[in-house]
Amino acid sequence: MTNPISINEVPVNPEIIQDEYLIYKKPSTLTDKPFHYCPGCGHSTVHKLLMELVEEIGIQSDIIGVAPVGCSVFAYDYMDIDMQEAAHGRALAVATGVRRMLPDKYVFTYQGDGDLAAIGTAETIHAANRGENILCIFINNGVYGMTSGQMAPTTLAGMVSTTSPFGRDVKTQGYPLKIGELLSLLPGVAYVTRQSVHTPTNVRKTKKALKQALEYQKQGLGFCMVEVVSNCPSNWKMTPLESLKFVEEKMIPFYPLGDLKVPGGK
């Protein structure tokens, strides 16, 4: 096998490097460190969308992020902003501390389903119920990724994981938890939306939702959650393409996309 060539070694014609030809670039708010995420994983996409917004809105100096424990534990390696690493499940308690000390800044947490919907359920519900003016970005791929494929609270019924090797049996292992629907019942919650990043259209919608949530935070409307139904090719034992198909055919029917709560009621 030949070594892959570095991007810097790709021959380019200097004449075409002009602003008017620029159609895509990495946001300056993402560091140069290559993502550790598996090929095809949705995390990198959501990281990029968030950092694009930080650049576009111009809030690099005004935003503090809280990383979870899980695959995105190293989120702070990639996001070129002030960040804190929380204990497993505690990101929204940590973010509450930040929010209360820095009422004029943007504050977000970035959490997976194990972190937010299992070990951190109490912190999640109470931060939402207090109406903390925080953006919670919730990546739901129905599996514990970092610990390599155990059942999550969001694992679909019948879905195989390393701790539900015969498929999740809801009678003994409980039902998949729809945390978005749960939170949308709370009066302190301003905005809950469920999006995905499995197609270019959905990527654009997710970016729009994140932008909307940051706008609501600026207005001080309260707790916002953008849930992103995502994939996990490695732990689902699928190719990236198969995993996107699984999102479309299995995940989204159970976790339907769209707004669950918007300011002013729905």
Partner: protein, 355 residues
Amino acid sequence: MGELKLMKGNEALAEALIRSGCDGYFGYPITPQSEVIEYLSREATARTGMVVLQAESEVASINMIYGAAATGRRVATTSSSPGISLMQEGISYIAGAELPCLVVNVVRGGPGLGTIQPSQADYFQATKGGGHGDYHLLVLAPYNVQEMVDFVKLGFELGEKYRNPVMILADGAMGQMMEKVELFEQQTRKTSFADWATNGKPKDKERRIITSLFIEPERMEQVNLNLQAKYKAMQENEVRYQTMNTDDAEYILTGFGLGSRIAMKVMELAREKGIKVGLIRPQTVYPFPYQVYKDIAPKVKGILDIEMNAGQMVEDVRLAVGDKTRVEFYGRMGGIIAEPDEVFNYFEKVFLGDK
């Protein structure tokens, strides 16, 4: 002379939090220290703008402390033994991320749900770890309401000096009893913050990351070595203790907090009978004043340590004196406070023999 007041320990501590320019308090009610959050809820925000938030659990409150401390602000939480057990995960992360903050434990009897009566049974937890990993809190042990006030101010200063969590290891008696206290002046809240604080990335400067995660073993070991160097500096610079009547003493009574108060009364009883008894009272139980015990051990016939537990600090006393003198222990558990008479009788029995 500062303002003099007659105050309950918990309320005096709460007043000291406000006066020390504390920016935020995050707590959860638990007996015997709920007066702290009640007092702060009434007084703090109107007077200084300090944030007071009742969390959903001690797990949440200590993690709120983590987030708030990481912005460089002065923050504190208070609880009692079962609540402090719940906080151990967060305290370990705070120690690992080197965040200054104040954690107050108004200790009650354990284990388990235990009792709401005063106890000193959390000494090991406070001084030897409690959470996971090689870390230490700087631990101050007040013996009266005045020190419940003074140690708040000192605790914040030491925490910020060393970027380390500080614990005030009190007990139910310190929290509930009323005494005269001299209050220090109101301090203004900070307006500038440390370089490491995550307040929003400064333009043209590196971003700040608050974490206790260092996945490469070499880096993790270096972080640990830095922590150990910090603890060594605390041992060299921050040991605090009080001695009484040690010059001519043939016996030493010792104890921290409530135990030392009982020891003082026992010392009086002994001195009335012409027995030359002195006293050592650690004010910092981490770092522990090993040297003062080591120095006095060859000069005395014995040391009696008095604690409201099964014998915890006595292990440090024994470590300090080795075989240079006899070390005896008297303790009561379960929320019972030893009477000076019973301790004196025990002292006579073990050191002077039955007469």
